[in-house]
């Protein structure tokens, strides 16, 4: 069975600085996979290459078994790749409903309609409302995103990504900047995501990683240090040395 997402010998350097060094990575269908590593390990660069926001220097990226190394972002999204951003990247002055509806419209191919009013496209609006309801945001549909508390903005990020009905979902620090009282809500949402979506989560919060992930890849200085199930990673002395050691003494 082909992987949901795969990289082969993926490299990226900026001049003399190598930020991705021969990364071989495999994300299985339905995976719950975490990518961890200290600051500057190249996690965000890796995600940006997966999405097509950044061109790799060499190597290959395969999505559902098909090569997409040179494909633009839009083509990858259409083939089922979705993401959330570490720093909320939303349409701040637009209502919450519109934020999700824009994504649903793109996925369903209705975004290029020039004539009928957007608000008469019931199919888009109902699907968006459904997604908001699933994430507990039904009451906020009419609010401007900028007026929402930050924890809810993080949920809107996830709602937009789900509006794309992705087969592979990249979650870039979904709980970043959220007070711990609200991060539990985000965890609940992550736990309930459809089982058939392959999820790669990039996260600093180790509690969240060990609770959510069934497989962990540790990235250090642009290379894969080790990969395995959470128990193994937690025991691995190298991981302790470069990463966990800082937090768990």
């Amino acid at each position: 069975m082909s992987s949901a997402l795969e990289t082969r010998k993926l490299c990226k350097s900026f001049g003399a600085l190598t930020v991705a060094d021969n990364i071989d990575f495999r994300l299985e269908p339905g995976a719950r996979h975490a990518l961890i590593g200290p600051n500057g390990a190249g996690k965000t660069t890796f995600v940006n290459m997966l999405m097509g926001a950044l061109a790799p220097s060499s190597g290959q990226i395969l999505l559902g078994g098909e090569e997409v190394t040179r494909a633009p972002q839009s083509a990858r999204v259409q083939r089922g790749l979705g993401r959330t951003f570490q720093i909320t990247t939303l349409f701040r002055s637009l209502p919450v409903l519109d934020n999700v509806a824009l994504a649903v419209a793109e996925r369903s191919g209705l975004a290029t309609r020039l004539w009928r009013p957007a608000s008469s496209h019931r199919e888009i609006i109902e699907e968006s409302q459904g997604l908001l309801a699933e994430l507990g945001l039904a009451g906020d549909a009419a609010a401007r995103v900028a007026d929402l508390p930050y924890g809810k903005q993080r949920l809107v990020e996830i709602a937009i990504a789900l509006g794309l009905r992705p087969r592979v979902l990249l979650l870039d620090e979904p709980a970043a900047g959220v007070p711990s009282t609200e991060s539990e809500r985000i965890l609940q949402v992550l736990d309930r995501l459809p089982a058939d979506i392959a999820i790669l989560i990039i996260e600093h919060d180790m509690d969240l990683v060990f609770r959510f992930a069934r497989r962990i890849t540790v990235l250090v200085q642009g290379t894969v240090l080790v990969e395995g199930p959470p128990e193994e990673i937690a025991r691995d002395p190298r991981v302790h040395q470069v990463y966990l050691g800082e937090q768990h003494g």
Binding site: L97, E106, L114, A118, S119
Partner: protein
């Protein structure tokens, strides 16, 4: 507000410009040529609002399309003897659309200052071509004696500009209707998305570049039609339709009225052109000073233009009256 949460039905206030235009026709029969000029610039500003206000494309070169449309109509009449008003409009629209798609495809890969400079360069090049190709354009003398045959074979362009005024009004109405449909459509909502957050639009799979090329072409087409109207109404076309100056004028008009709010494109040209008409008569040497002062006041004290200011006043007034109601 456009988008998925907006009510697309036409509100009663949206009929006011049309009522005002018809009232103007009866109240100021001596000013119909100024009126027609205002209507033309509203159409021009409306086309600019579509790309600047909704899609967030900044440009100082929108006169390229306006000027190309204007010269197309002029050349058709004076060189080829084609005087049918709709043929002239159609040809102007087609030429402007072709230029829009050709230049848009090149420059819309860039952003911000680079984009601004490229748009300016394109209209500057056209200005120089129009200046040098005297056989076709008349150079600095322009093309006079542009003929327009009666509209539908019935309505002759009269000395008082009555026909011209209604002709421009009907064309503007159609242009407004098209723009309004677009901005309330999913495409319009998507454009607002690009303006608000381009990175996010990429991440939800929108081919942003192609979307911008299409709206740029639509906008260029409208600007070309506006330019052709100007030639038809003036029966003349000269170099002043190209280059930085008309681009800057229409930009100032839109900023005065309010960017990205559809009716800013109506209010701006009315204020600008009436102020220009008045100031040019009173202070023929200093009228630009007055326009400059007006712009500074608006930019300093009324971000969002005259309509933005009106909105704020209405909001204050509503709060005030609701506060009074709750105090009772």
């Amino acid at each position: 507000m456009s988008g998925y949460s907006a009510d697309p039905r036409i509100r009663w206030t949206e009929w006011l410009p049309w009522v005002a235009a018809i009232a103007f026709f009866f109240l100021f029969p001596g000013y119909l040529s100024l009126g027609a000029r205002i209507l033309i610039f509203i159409l021009f500003a409306l086309s600019l609002d579509l790309i600047l206000g909704y899609a967030g494309i900044i440009t100082l070169g929108h006169s390229a399309f306006f000027g190309l449309g204007a010269y197309t109509a002029g050349i058709l009449s004076t060189k080829l003897g084609i005087n049918d008003p709709f043929l002239q409009l159609g040809a102007a629209a087609a030429m402007a659309a072709a230029l829009g798609v050709a230049t848009g495809a090149v420059i819309l890969r860039t952003r911000a200052l680079t984009l601004l400079m490229l748009t300016l360069a394109i209209t500057a090049i056209l200005l120089e071509i129009a200046n040098k190709a005297t056989d076709l354009t008349g150079g600095a003398d322009g093309l006079s004696g542009v003929q327009v045959s009666p509209i539908l074979g019935l309505f002759r362009f009269d000395l008082y500009g009555k026909t011209a005024f209604f002709y421009c009004l009907v064309t503007l109405f159609l242009g407004w209707w098209v723009v309004r449909r677009i901005i309330y459509s999913p495409y319009g909502a998507m454009l607002t998305g690009i303006r608000e957050n381009t990175a996010r639009m990429h991440a939800i799979g929108a081919p942003v570049y192609w979307r911008l090329v299409l709206i740029y072409t639509i906008s260029a087409t409208m600007a070309g039609i506006a330019g052709a109207l100007l030639t038809q109404v003036n029966q003349f076309v000269g170099l002043n339709v190209l280059g930085l100056e008309p681009s800057g004028d229409v930009l100032v008009m839109l900023i005065l009225g309010g960017v990205g709010r559809l009716y800013g494109a109506f209010v701006g040209p009315v204020v600008y052109l009436i102020a220009q008409d008045y100031l040019a008569k009173q202070y023929p040497e200093y009228w630009y000073f007055g326009i400059g002062l007006l712009l500074i006041v608006v930019v300093l004290f009324a971000r969002g233009g005259i309509l933005g200011l009106t909105d704020k006043c209405l909001l204050l007034w509503k709060r005030e009256s609701s506060a009074k109601a709750s105090a009772r």
